[in-house]
Symmetry: C2
Subunit: 386 residues, 2 copies
Amino acid sequence: MTLPTIIKVHVPESHNDFLERLRRLPPLFTCTIASTETALIPGVSAAGAGPELIPYTAAADVEALVYGQALCLEKIPENPVGPPSPVIITMAALRELEAPFFVVDAGNAVTPKVPMLTAGRQPGREITAPEAVAEVEELFLQGIIIGQQLADNHHSLILGESVPGGTTTAMAVMEALGIAALGKISGSMPGNNQNLKQDLVCRALREKDLQRGFALKNPLSAIRLLGDPMQAVQAGIAMSASRKIPVLLAGGTQMIAVAALIGALLEQPAAINAITRRGSQKLINCALKAQLENVAIATTAWVSEDESADLRSLMRQLPQALPLYAAGLDFSTSRHQNLKLYEEGYVKEGVGAGALALCAMLYHDLDNLKFLPRIEKIYEEIYLAG
Amino acid sequence: MTLPTIIKVHVPESHNDFLERLRRLPPLFTCTIASTETALIPGVSAAGAGPELIPYTAAADVEALVYGQALCLEKIPENPVGPPSPVIITMAALRELEAPFFVVDAGNAVTPKVPMLTAGRQPGREITAPEAVAEVEELFLQGIIIGQQLADNHHSLILGESVPGGTTTAMAVMEALGIAALGKISGSMPGNNQNLKQDLVCRALREKDLQRGFALKNPLSAIRLLGDPMQAVQAGIAMSASRKIPVLLAGGTQMIAVAALIGALLEQPAAINAITRRGSQKLINCALKAQLENVAIATTAWVSEDESADLRSLMRQLPQALPLYAAGLDFSTSRHQNLKLYEEGYVKEGVGAGALALCAMLYHDLDNLKFLPRIEKIYEEIYLAG
């Protein structure tokens, strides 16, 4: 079956013209990186060639964006079975789009040798720790400021991430916000290790004596207790930037969790108005003026059509209706075995790959067959260069 | 005497159309902040209301840009005699221009509660220390990356700074690069305390057994031995961004030192080609393609016409001819005594005030009389608000 170039997975009527509005402005990409110790629990993440390399994954991904290769790893991050990080898709799309980008630091165990917009400086803890994310309100406020700064830049905004372990924190946060997410998330391995992740989320909820939906009255508490630092920052950026420009949340499961957080926050303005640190009021007012018709989610077909997940169900449960698009990427005809392995589910999404591929194809009228060789070229530059 | 709105202090023919080219693109402002322990030597800096507040000055300045007031100080930085930081001019201009901005962190003793593009994380030492700036090559490389990222943003770039003690490090670096700077720099007090600063620079040179011009063969060694972290970062940003867009170095003495560094680096490509850390070669190639016709300096009339300094002499000594413009700011008719004190030399420049005032007046066809009330309004919002 040939996939359409852009799969309209879930598009509420309110957003019929979103892609058209997105295309009116040149794209600007941000990649928000963060660590969560949740990723170090065996079986949660396949983001590094071996478990000891997981903490380097996010740093290596953004170094690759800047330098064409990682500095803290030999090449770029890899799945243990061989396929390379989806950053190769991101790199191909950024080259095609000639798009500027910034890295946003939400709190990382390994500091990459690249400039980062600092939103936070502390890695997240395990979701079973008493506090998974410290200073979650400050992360949210810093995100709002970044969104303000980027919104004046005359671009459409594509908000990606690299957070190993991030689909597990996404599952936990969605449950906290009342979305039935167990068994429905995607992830960086065939089958997504749903049982292990589900057991972990249920254990964290149980040990903290929390039920599904407990955070609806105070949505940021979902992140504080069960999330990762990226989620709070990304929500802040998206909310304030959406007042002025189209914002594409770039990812699958992880961005549905961010969208759930945004929706829940907008339904509980009292909860964020309760943030009282000096100077916060203007920022909060700004976030509360978020324009959801300017927000959408985009991922890859490997995620949206993942039969071990159920993205459509997650989208239907969002507090506010938002669209989910997917780039019809298909590597089955690739000349490289490690890229063909994407078709077996070893790598599916990350570093904004799906949304950027979608933009590259949308802005430059490419289909998968035309775009794939550009991804292969990046792969060859990294792995086959003398 | 009434000042012209824009004073063309020094304009080589190569740059006759610079302001016109600048105006073709909307402005984007960056403020690079750094600490140097040189500022803590008594008499060097009047950047804080008292010496113990000097380390907070840069952080407070950029917090004011984001929040409309500082968080780490009560209001905003002040000269001990009363006049407020020039950040009020910057704030008025940014509001007028509706310009986006980013803060760049080159290494600071106090971390402001604002997102910063990280170029460095270590404050500078005293210029008499064995190494005034650590990892100067890395600072330069990170600056180059930031310049690349900003150059794709479809803006003209205005590069400001807040570095207490920065005119002393500027004097030292100019001497290191063969420019007779003793007694010619401006600074944040009447008369500029030339003797004290000059004695300090001469002592640093003597103790390290260095002569004027010692760094011409290896320009970054001027920063390593006698400079501050901002200088290396700013040169990197300006060089790589100037390949594509007009770049205005926003400051007086301090930016002439940065311009001297840029000129010296372009005359000694071998020196920067000697940087061999992994991934650096592409960045260096990018810096070496700097287009000087895209670079100029802009400051205030308080600096350009400062009779205790000699900016024209410094400009004539630059290795490559660059223009110096000044915004014809005049606070003598202000309704606030603390602003009138600017006319007595207590505050003259900083946080890109001169260049941003110049842009506000240039882009929006204002003169000093029309612009001053907008600055007074900012002052009143900070000091007279209930």
